[in-house]
Symmetry: C2
Subunit: 412 residues, 2 copies
Amino acid sequence: MKPFFKVKTVEEVLGLLERFQPLEAEEVELAGARGRVLAEDLQADEFVPDHDRSAMDGFAVRARDTFGAAETLPALFHLAGEVQMGLEPDFEIGPGQAARIWTGGMLPAGADAVVMIEYSRQVDETSVELSKPAAPWENVIRRGEDVKPGQVLLPAGLALRPQDLGLLAALGRSIVRVTRRPRAALISTGDEVIPITENPGPGRVRDVNTYSLGAMLEGFGAEVIRLGLIPDDPARLRAGVERGLALADLVIVSGGSSMGVRDFAVEVFSSFPGSEILVHGVAVSPGKPLIMAGLGNQSLWGLPGHAVSAMITADVFVRPLLDRLSGKTRLGKPWGRLVQAALARNVPSVHGRQDYIRVRLEQEGGGLKAHPILGKSGLVSTMVKADGLVCIGLNEEGRLAGSLAEVRLFDD
Amino acid sequence: MKPFFKVKTVEEVLGLLERFQPLEAEEVELAGARGRVLAEDLQADEFVPDHDRSAMDGFAVRARDTFGAAETLPALFHLAGEVQMGLEPDFEIGPGQAARIWTGGMLPAGADAVVMIEYSRQVDETSVELSKPAAPWENVIRRGEDVKPGQVLLPAGLALRPQDLGLLAALGRSIVRVTRRPRAALISTGDEVIPITENPGPGRVRDVNTYSLGAMLEGFGAEVIRLGLIPDDPARLRAGVERGLALADLVIVSGGSSMGVRDFAVEVFSSFPGSEILVHGVAVSPGKPLIMAGLGNQSLWGLPGHAVSAMITADVFVRPLLDRLSGKTRLGKPWGRLVQAALARNVPSVHGRQDYIRVRLEQEGGGLKAHPILGKSGLVSTMVKADGLVCIGLNEEGRLAGSLAEVRLFDD
């Protein structure tokens, strides 16, 4: 009988990931930077806007001249001109004067407020009545109100959202320094696994993991290099892993979950100079046979072959590595990824391991209900039915129906 | 004074979107189908797996032969052979016989269970002791246990997740029929707006919306065609919109929020044969000056120029259109996109319009707190600080501090 693994806990494995460093920075065009991770703080070097501008269509005035104006007692103003969009007005606003101005127009010198067009009545070519008082700077976006020089606006480690790109655009940053996207090479193994374009005869199954894991890793922000299928043969696996190491920051081998094959995966991973086996088994179900080796800043991963186990270990262990490599120090906000739900039935678990239970969510009454999905970890259809995972901790022996659990949602 | 708009409510505008039909289907390779929307139900046409297979490393046996086996009283089996991965075993399991089998190996005829290797002790070349009984079909994935022919596994209208691709792979669907991605052409207008690579002199600002809206629409699943900046000139705007119509399913013009410019956007939109102005103003803040026209299955959108208003109207109105065009009938599940949070302060609102309030979320105690972000809709920095939006309904006059509100999260 083969020896049992010396298994590690989830926390221990996540701790081991700290040896891996963020990848180098690179420059990308702003329009393509969505989701990329800022490699340095964005500090503003100018005022946005660069001048006081109107937030409304209306009339630029000296606020004090409008005080007391009312529908029943409009104030009369002399029209000093009209502000042309995109130009600096070539006139000033003196006492009792107003200028027609549009949203975004530059405030003329002398003016300190805008009265909305809705409260105006043009009397003749040269005069207008305004029926509402304006407080100083009302309906004006002041110079630097959006951004002032010296402010740190976006921190290094932030994954850029559309509004962050908008802010970068406002500051004229057409090129952004971001951390390079991690590259993950993906290999499926197993003599019983065939390409999806073939028909499985007796004893064979199609290669699921190249597609499910590949898409998952892309969702985590990696560039995925699909190296395809390699049979259970140490020399050929070594050649495949070597190719992966030449192309990628991490090489993920899924399959070969059986003990014999696992053993030669460890052998193959160990055979690269400088390689160190860091993980050989984890106290996690499904996913126990996980293997991980480090080679400098590169890593080699042996994931279980079962579709469900492979996806869960990728989510629990590979995702945090990809976050690290891509420099994400602002790990996003947990709401939206974690939700609370009441368990719809008792969930047994085994003391001494972390169980990831697939659950389907349903809105029931005021809250969410989590229905555990039963089924072996070889059944990809169980993941299709699931909305997320509930984790039962190492020191728990299960959860009771009705108790609240935190559900870790799958990405869309 | 110009006439006020005849504004529509959010519900009315969303109702108008029902005239637009999903785009045609196209075929894509499975590896590139993440996030794409299935154009037809996926119905299984075969068994997955195609044969009974082992879910564990161990020994294939007849379950009944293990009954009564225990650590203190192991049952002795004669080794009939070893199952080779990927091959149909060329032997059968008779009474008292066992075969070595690995995870994923095909169950030999006669066997109906697998005893895990952990409960075995090999006695000699030809015999093994098993110290645990197995129920019939224990540790076996049965033929069709994952998928049976005729089952509808994935419904048309589903946006494909990694596990869905895995299921498609298991069924050998290397090519998938999905709805074509909507193409959105994006135009920024305004004489005061300049390309981001230029320095704004007095009166000018850089083009934010090409970047913030562009990234947002990509996040909604659209292919974005950035047509750049067009000055406030009807003939040039018409030429730009015409070009957009030749390239895209929808043309989005942002900017020109001032009344005069808005009026010529309506004129330009109306000038295309068959075009019909469907929306001219909405009871929404920010975002009131929204314009929308339909031309067959294409649409023209006039979004406000202010960065915040443009993003909010894109989220509230353009996103549902893109969902429709891309054929999403399974609109995903609301958890993850909507969260409950307590308002950190009173939020005033105006009766008769729907207010979208930017909020920053914070975990406080057991729940989330939503801090309203103040600031004009011209300030993109306010969106950078926000995590999502709270909508105050048409018939509400605000919300009190401490009351629970639904927060619509921004995408990462």
